[in-house]
């Protein structure tokens, strides 16, 4: 199982090389991996169909008890099969669609990374691993959407998709962590699903909202739906994969996954029900006013995602059955439709459905597959989509509460529009008069037809023989999402009931709408205000605002004035440390006994007087000389107070400092104080504040009884263990040698830095 998830990442690194070596046949060759994975996942069906959930552990960091664990149950297996199965056809298809594209190797590399991330996402048991895979899908899909990166719009749309989903991802992380806390520190999905009292978690509302923000952005629910149609900037194989079974379904997957433990509350019910239904309606309305083949499909995807969210929210037995059935049906027909749209685009050179016509003769197989898939989209018998749609109506009617009427009405409305759009897709390009297209169309190659034809046929097979998917796929998935085992039976014929009536009504109204589509389209064209008030405008404003805030705060903080930085730092230190000192020191700090000898006082006085003189003098030479006096006085202090090594070092460094200043400083211009008198007073106040703080700190420290210094051990070890009688040196070269090693590296780096700067300057001059 670990290999199954990771193999995509491994192949990702090999794919570019394989693609270059095998040229045209690379697509077929590479598709062997997802095909093998698909077969591997198929072998799990007998186990899972019996209602089992298998958890597989791999020790990852055994010392820390961190495992890589996978959860295989009906839901994750359904997704894994969809990802690997549709993935197989997408890889083959891409070989034809992007035939000869210079970046095809890169495409395959990203595609496999994305596929592996997606598999990891649906199979992970650990929620942290799940989150990592979740973000990986965001990143890899960003690369896929922006694949044709030469186009500015593509980059913009890819970034839009990334930002929207990543912002949601951030919220999701917070939500998942809260969920783990709510489940009693349980970081595995299996543990969370087994936890009892998640609803009693005090921050339940916040947790649900955080998780939903993540899933809604990922699955393009209103009001975040705008990124999905824009993601059509991707090449068609990407769209077909991302929007049928993978990326956008990740949000739906997570909601379904968490439904048994987190769901079942009013919040869950209404949030998912209302937003799902609104998304469903928005998607179908937007689809109706689109003319691009891919745009139509993108908006119907939004519609489908809304439907799924709504059904999970309703949460009844019928609703979950409907959700899983619809999920499967949608994945099959949507992948097929996208690939067909790509084939049409590839062969005719246009994406606009109104510019195509009469292609039935030249592209008969495409036409046939399009009819099958579109019938499934429209929800007509005997296709699998029909079963899904019937179940959906049944679920909305039984939703309970005010939601029943609301969702049923919206479901009917969107069904009408989807019937119309399905008809547009299947009939407009193929029937009627032949229209001039940029390219002379002919039938697409085998690599581009095998996928859509197989998937569309599968939609027909599943429709006719509903027991096949019912037992193997939908049943176990429903059990996993509902939380209890349910017997699922899928039939085309449910008897004459309300759902059937709604279906018939939808089909009739939809066909009327199709007939009048040109009029409707013209009507929509006049309603340009939708674009002006759409969510995308909100996104743009948010982005502009973000940039403005960033500019404002950069100007405020990074204003380029050394003095301002320093003043800010000093005042912060004085404020924080001073405040702490004030709060934690009860007694006034005693000055203690000044047991000072005269010569010590003279040396100390020299340092202070020198410091003051250096600050106020107008002579550069005077300042440097004063520095020397200060340095030698400090050396004297070291020597007087038992540190002969320090004293010697200080004297040597002081000498070298003077040499350095002579070599460099005197080549700098004068010693002018540019500041106004008022500024000088302000700076003096800042400086004295820090100096005063330091004085108070030392006095406070001096007042605290010190515990045994740790260095006593070092002193005791020095002669017997270190064979040295100069303890300071023994510490430097023996006890703390690693420390010293680091320090001499710093010195060496500084020297090399100086050398480099000087050499660059010399080279500049030479030029």
């Amino acid at each position: 199982m670990l290999l199954a998830v990771l193999s995509g990442f491994i192949l990702c690194t090999l794919a570019p090389w394989l693609t270059r070596s095998f040229g045209d046949r690379a697509g077929w060759l590479l598709s062997l991996l997802p095909a093998a994975l698909f077969i591997y996942f198929l072998t799990w069906i007998p186990t899972i169909a019996q209602g089992e959930a298998v958890i597989i552990h791999y020790p990852w960091i055994p010392g820390l008890d961190i495992n890589m664990s996978f959860l295989v149950d009906g839901l994750s297996l359904l997704f894994a099969l969809l990802i690997s199965g549709i993935g197989t056809f997408i890889i083959i298809y891409a070989g034809g669609y992007l035939h000869g594209h210079k970046d095809l190797p890169r495409f395959y590399a990203i595609m496999f990374a994305f596929m592996a991330s997606m598999l990891g996402l649906v199979l992970s048991d650990n929620i942290i691993a799940l989150f990592v895979f979740w973000e990986l899908t965001s990143v890899t899909s960003y690369l896929l959407i922006g694949f044709l990166h030469e186009d500015k719009d593509n980059r913009w749309f890819a970034l839009q998709g990334l930002l929207v989903t990543v912002v949601g991802g951030l919220a999701l992380l917070a939500g998942l962590l809260m969920l783990a806390v709510a489940a009693g520190g349980e970081y595995t999905l299996s543990g969370i699903l087994a936890a009892e009292d998640i609803h009693a978690y005090p921050f339940y509302t916040g947790m649900v909202l955080a998780i939903l923000l993540g899933t809604f952005t990922k699955s393009a629910q209103v009001p975040f739906h705008f990124w999905l149609p824009n993601a059509m900037a991707a090449p068609t194989p990407v769209s077909a994969f991302l929007h049928s079974a993978t990326m956008v379904k990740a949000g739906v997957f997570l909601m379904a996954r968490l439904n048994p433990s987190v769901g079942g509350t009013d919040l869950w019910f209404y949030a998912l029900g209302i937003f799902g239904a609104l998304t469903m309606l928005t998607g179908s309305v937007m689809a109706l006013r689109s003319t691009g083949l891919k745009a139509i499909l993108a908006y119907t995807t939004v519609m489908a995602l809304g439907t799924l969210t709504m059904l999970i929210g309703i949460g009844t037995e019928q609703a979950i059955i409907a959700a899983m059935t619809f999920l499967l049906a949608h994945a099959l027909y949507k992948a097929a439709l996208f690939m067909l749209a790509g084939a049409l685009d590839h062969e005719t050179g246009t994406k606009d459905v109104t510019k195509m016509g009469g292609l039935r003769q030249v592209m008969p197989i495409t036409f046939l597959a399009a009819c099958l898939a579109a019938l499934s989209l429209a929800g007509l018998p005997p296709l699998f989509g029909f079963i899904g749609k019937e179940l959906m109506f049944e679920a909305t009617l039984g939703a309970g509460g005010a939601l029943a009427a609301f969702t049923s009405l919206l479901a009917l409305l969107s069904a009408i529009m989807i019937v119309a759009m399905a008809a547009v897709f299947a009939l407009r390009p193929f029937t009627g008069r032949r229209k001039e297209t940029p390219k002379t169309p002919h039938e697409a190659p085998l690599s581009m037809l095998i996928g859509p034809v197989t998937l569309a046929t599968l939609g027909l097979v599943f429709g006719l023989f509903g027991f096949l998917p019912a037992a193997a796929l939908v049943g176990p998935a429903v059990a996993a999402v509902y939380g209890d085992p349910i017997t699922v039976e899928l039939y085309l014929w449910h008897g004459i009931n309300a759902p059937l009536m709604m279906s018939i009504a939808a089909v009739i109204a939809g066909l009327v709408l199709f007939a009048k589509w040109d009029t409707v389209l013209a009507g929509f064209k006049r309603l340009t205000f939708i674009d002006r008030f759409g969510m995308e405008r909100g996104y743009e404003h948010a982005m502009d605002g973000l940039v403005a805030v960033a500019e404002w705060q950069t100007r405020l903080l990074q204003n380029g004035s050394m003095g301002n930085y320093l003043t800010t730092i000093v005042l912060t230190i004085v404020g924080l440390a001073g405040w702490t000192l004030l709060v934690h020191t009860d007694t006034p700090i005693p000055l203690g006994l000044f047991d000072v000898n005269l010569y010590e006082a003279v040396v100390a006085g020299l340092v202070v007087v020198g410091a003051v003189f250096a600050s106020v003098t107008t002579s550069r030479l005077g300042a440097v000389a004063t520095l020397g006096i200060i340095g030698f006085s400090i050396a004297l202090i070291y020597v007087l107070f038992s540190a002969p090594d320090l004293g010697t070092t200080q004297i040597m460094v002081e000498t070298l400092t003077v040499i350095l200043l002579v070599l460099v400083l005197f080549r700098l211009p004068g010693f002018i104080d540019y500041s106004a008198p008022a500024t000088r007073i302000k700076d003096a106040v800042v400086a004295v504040a820090l100096g005063g703080l330091m004085t108070l700190l030392i006095l406070a420290v001096n007042d605290v009884p010190v515990a045994e210094p740790i260095s006593d051990q070092l002193v005791h070890w020095s002669e017997p263990e270190g064979h040295g009688r100069n303890i300071v040196n023994v510490i430097l070269v023996d006890f703390r040698a690693l420390d010293t090693l680091g320090e001499i590296f710093v010195i060496g780096l500084a020297a090399i830095g100086v050398y480099a700067m000087i050499r660059f300057r010399a080279e500049d001059k030479a030029q």
């Binding site: 006082a601 250096a614 202090i637 210094p709 260095s711 070092l714």
Partner: protein, 115 residues
């Protein structure tokens, strides 16, 4: 001695910050040197000051006679002094190079130069 040193260190810090707040490059360098000295003295002072008890062991003994000044802060300060010199050299050359490139020694006028 420590209370007196507290004022010495405070004075050094105040002078160094004041110099670093000046707009002239040369004064900035002097401020840096003072700051380095102030920090070393700070560490030396707060670890306790002893007269005439260097951490040296007489030949044949295993411990310094009559007590010792803490050797660990001394070791730290010793390396700090040398590193301080290395960093100072780097800063001085960097500042000089900045001056050569920008041809301006007033820090306030260097603000918007991005070269």
């Amino acid at each position: 001695m420590e209370p007196l040193m507290a004022f010495v260190v405070g004075g050094l810090f105040a002078a160094s910050i004041y110099m670093m707040l000046r707009r002239s490059l040369v004064k900035l360098v002097i401020g840096l040197i003072l700051l380095s000295n102030a920090a070393n003295l700070l560490i030396f002072t707060v670890s306790g000051m002893q007269r005439g008890l260097p951490p040296l062991i007489a030949p044949g003994d295993t411990l310094p006679a009559g007590g010792w000044a803490d050797p660990l802060p001394q070791a730290l300060v010793l390396t700090a002094i040398v590193i301080g010199f290395g960093v100072l050299a780097f800063a001085v050359v960097l500042i000089h190079r900045a001056y050569v490139v920008v041809k301006e020694d007033d820090l306030e006028k260097m603000r918007s130069t991005d070269t």
